[in-house]
């Protein structure tokens, strides 16, 4: 019998290490023959820490939101006394959330121990790579990826086979296979999870790709904010090397491929291929004009192919099951599955992998369980700083590269941030512009100065100082920045503003002309008053007001002096009688 603890970053943040220590102590104290193991993230992050107890016959029982006290109960009541312990078990509802998914990229996440290569081998790991290297020509490998219809999962959705083919046909003997694991899109964590939960899937995918294009050296560019991912990937690389899946003469074919990690240093623009290459070469990560494309002149001017983590993680599955099996999933133009990081105001946040073609509603309401506290759905943000906000009226949109693009958002790398009635759309636009403005590398004037000007306007609007003509000025800047920027960062930076103006123009107008934030989020536009009929004069607000703006005698109605009030909201939080009104 064994105890398996979900130990992705999310599990650890929720206390997985403490729970693990507790289990180990209790097991040692009682002298039980139970091993404690770890696994990655199953995706239901809201249930962490998650603990599986697996008996010798392989039957698994899952316990969720486990605390250190629960660890004792699980050992005493479940393992020893064999009671049901129903209150700690995963609910049917939550099991359904996992059951509705179709897991290809996440096939092993939360199931195998990412630090044990034998676990990966036990689920047929490296069998696809063996097949590709020993039985298939590079042409046949590329053809299979073409049949599968796999598109780059990093955001742009470019056909993977096309890139591999271009790199393969590019003249030269020294070529590089690079993995972009610089997942900088705020609100997305699919790649982190794959690296932490199933790193060998990435290595195997890269090995197959390297064989196809003829690369003997690979680099994984991982962002520095993912320390655990770097540790686990390094362990996996070492183990793969030890087993002979990396190095010289892999599978006795004479083919050589080795892999190393390069830690990024924090720059969103390095997700752009040419900027990433500059960063790999130790330079400032600034994009350059294409062509030449990396397939012709990439890392050290050699042919280089760059794919994202999720793209590579799909590859072994495609070769085990066939390109046609992959292409059978999804829509006409978008094949296979896509992993989404479902977060924000959704009940069940986490990683979900679904076949393309489901609707946004399916994902947010069926799988995600709807909106927290059953508030009203307002929008879903897709594609991060390059994407946009999709309103409720378009919830039936299919998840398909072209369909999502039609809304003004993009598929992106898979961030799906759900927003409810309390999220201000002007503030969301401001939030993303603040991000792109900071992350602009500064090379193109429109991106550098244009985003700064846009941010200034949006700051003004959210502070209640919007002017007539601001919306039109924003739109004009948006189109000019799109036209005047070299790389994807600048070309897409206006999308969050354009989509919010398109679908939520009324909110912009409310801010500018009526000095109102209907989501009650932009503080300078709010006024706090006390409802005379509800106030009982308890004095809680007066006591907690940091600037002494509230006056009133005990048991009499209190009042807020608007000239002094700093709109911190403390009175609203502490009032037990709902008598503080925000308007």
């Amino acid at each position: 019998m064994k105890v398996i603890i979900g130990s992705g970053s999310c599990g650890i943040a929720a206390g997985a290490h403490k729970v693990q220590t507790a289990f180990e102590a209790i097991i040692a104290e009682k002298g039980l023959a139970l091993s404690v193991e770890q696994t990655g993230c199953i995706g239901t992050c809201y249930l962490e820490p998650i603990v599986d107890v697996v008996d010798d016959a392989g039957n698994k029982v899952t316990f969720v939101n486990v605390t250190t006290d629960d660890a004792r109960r699980i050992i005493d009541d479940y393992v020893i006394a064999q009671q049901e312990l129903a209150d700690l078990r995963i609910s049917q509802d939550d099991l359904t959330m996992i059951g509705k998914q179709q897991r290809i990229v996440l096939r092993n996440s939360g199931i195998i121990d990412p630090e044990q290569i034998d676990d990966y081998l036990a689920v047929d790991g490296y069998a696809a790579a063996r097949k590709c290297l020993t039985e298939m020509t590079p042409e046949a490998i590329i053809e299979t990826v073409k049949i599968a219809g796999l598109k780059g999962r990093g955001g742009a959705g470019f056909p993977t086979w096309f890139k591999w083919d271009a790199a393969k046909k590019s003249p030269g003997t020294t070529k590089y296979m690079v993995c972009n694991a610089d997942e900088g899109d705020p609100g997305a964590f699919m790649d982190r999870s794959v690296l932490e939960s199933d790193p060998h899937a990435l290595i195997e995918g890269m090995l197959i790709g390297a064989r196809a294009i003829g690369a003997n050296e690979g680099i994984v560019y991982v962002r520095a904010e993912y320390p655990l991912a770097i540790v686990r990937l390094q362990k996996a690389i070492d183990q793969a090397r030890e087993k002979g899946y990396l190095g010289n003469d892999i599978f006795g074919t004479g083919f050589a491929f080795d892999l190393r990690i390069k830690a990024g240093a924090g720059a969103f623009v390095c997700g752009e291929e040419t900027a990433l290459i500059a960063s790999l070469e130790g330079e400032r990560g600034m994009p350059r004009l294409k062509p030449p494309f990396p397939a012709q002149k990439g890392y050290w001017n050699k042919p280089t192919n760059i794919n994202n983590v999720e793209t590579f993680a799909n590859v072994p599955w495609i070769f085990r099951n066939g390109g046609a099996a992959y292409a059978a999933l999804g829509t006409k133009e978008s094949k296979g599955t896509k992993v989404f990081a479902l977060t924000g105001k959704v009940k069940k946040g986490g990683l979900v992998e679904i076949p393309m073609g489901l609707t946004l509603k399916d994902v947010i309401f069926d799988i995600g369980g709807g909106i927290k506290q059953d508030k009203a759905f307002k929008a879903v943000q897709m594609g991060g700083p390059s994407g946009g906000c999709i309103p409720a009226s378009l919830l039936d949109t299919q998840i398909d590269y072209a369909e999502i693009t039609k809304t003004g958002a993009i598929m992106g790398s898979g961030g799906m941030v759900v927003m409810d009635e309390t999220t201000c759309m002007v503030d969301m636009a401001r939030f993303f512009l603040d991000f792109t403005c900071k992350e602009s590398c500064g090379k193109c004037t429109y991106c550098r100065v244009g985003t700064t000007r846009m941010l200034e306007i949006l700051n003004r609007i959210t502070q209640g100082e919007g002017r007539d003509g601001d919306i039109e000025l924003l739109e004009e800047l948006c189109y000019k920045i799109k036209d005047g920027s070299l790389c994807g960062l600048g070309q897409t930076a206006p999308n969050p503003v354009l989509t919010t103006i398109k679908y939520f123009r009324n909110e912009y107008e409310d801010h500018i002309y009526h000095h109102k934030c209907t989501a009650r989020s932009c503080k300078p536009l709010l006024t706090y008053t006390i409802d005379k009929d509800k106030c009982v004069g308890c004095g809680a607000c007066k006591k907690n007001c940091p600037v002494a703006a509230i006056t009133g005698e005990k048991k009499l109605v209190h009042e807020i002096n608007q000239d002094i009030c700093i709109k911190c909201g403390k009175c609203f939080t502490v009032c037990k009688f709902d008598s503080v009104i925000i308007d």
Partner: protein
């Protein structure tokens, strides 16, 4: 000055510009193994800067000048690369580096309130260090723990589902821990704010 003291790739001279004054032991001796391994591999500047920051906590002008000299790179380039990436710091940080996530999910779920709570409790703003040298506050882009938002990291530990109260509690606990172990907080206030 003996060659052994700090001869790395070149012998230091009284005016060599690396800040060694020619007659003192190399102040960046610990970096030697890193330079031995990476200095001659093209494209390793970021890696060297990362290792240097790991060792010294931040990149001082002297340190960057030293790296430039040892890698035969222009100091302007070292500075240019270092300032391009958000990971690199140019001022000392406190014993506890608070990295407050400003990702989308955290923003939607109230990272502003969390930031206010930290600022209220420690009386510092973004980028500053407390006078006792214990805490530094940095806002960072997404930490990738979105389903636990709002999130912060303090050194290597991640804290999720934060509220005002939870944040205050965590900081108070760390403060108390540091207080019990005065030997631990070696950095004095003067050094930090210098």
């Amino acid at each position: 000055m003996s060659q052994e003291i700090h001869d790395h790739h070149h012998a230091h001279e009284p005016d060599c510009g690396c800040g060694c004054h020619g007659d003192q032991p190399n102040p960046f001796e610990e970096l030697s193994p890193v330079l031995d391994r990476y200095a001659d591999i093209p494209g390793s500047l970021i890696t060297i800067l990362q290792k240097a920051q790991e060792l010294y906590g931040f990149l001082s002008v002297e340190l960057m000048r030293y790296i430039a000299l040892e890698t035969h790179t222009a100091i302007a380039k070292v500075y240019g690369v270092a300032t391009f990436y958000t990971q690199f710091r140019f001022k000392p940080v406190g014993k506890y580096l608070i990295m407050l996530c400003q990702g989308t999910a955290c923003h939607v779920n109230g990272s502003k309130q969390v930031e206010e709570a930290v600022m209220d409790y420690l009386d510092i703003t973004e980028g500053e260090t407390t006078p006792d040298g214990l805490f530094t506050l940095n806002n960072v882009a997404c930490l990738g723990c979105c389903s636990l938002s709002p999130v912060m990291m303090i050194n290597d530990d991640t804290y999720g589902q934060l509220t005002r109260d939870k944040v205050t509690h965590i900081l108070a606990e760390l403060k108390e821990k540091a207080g019990q172990d005065p030997m631990d907080s070696e950095i004095s206030a003067q050094e930090v704010n210098a």
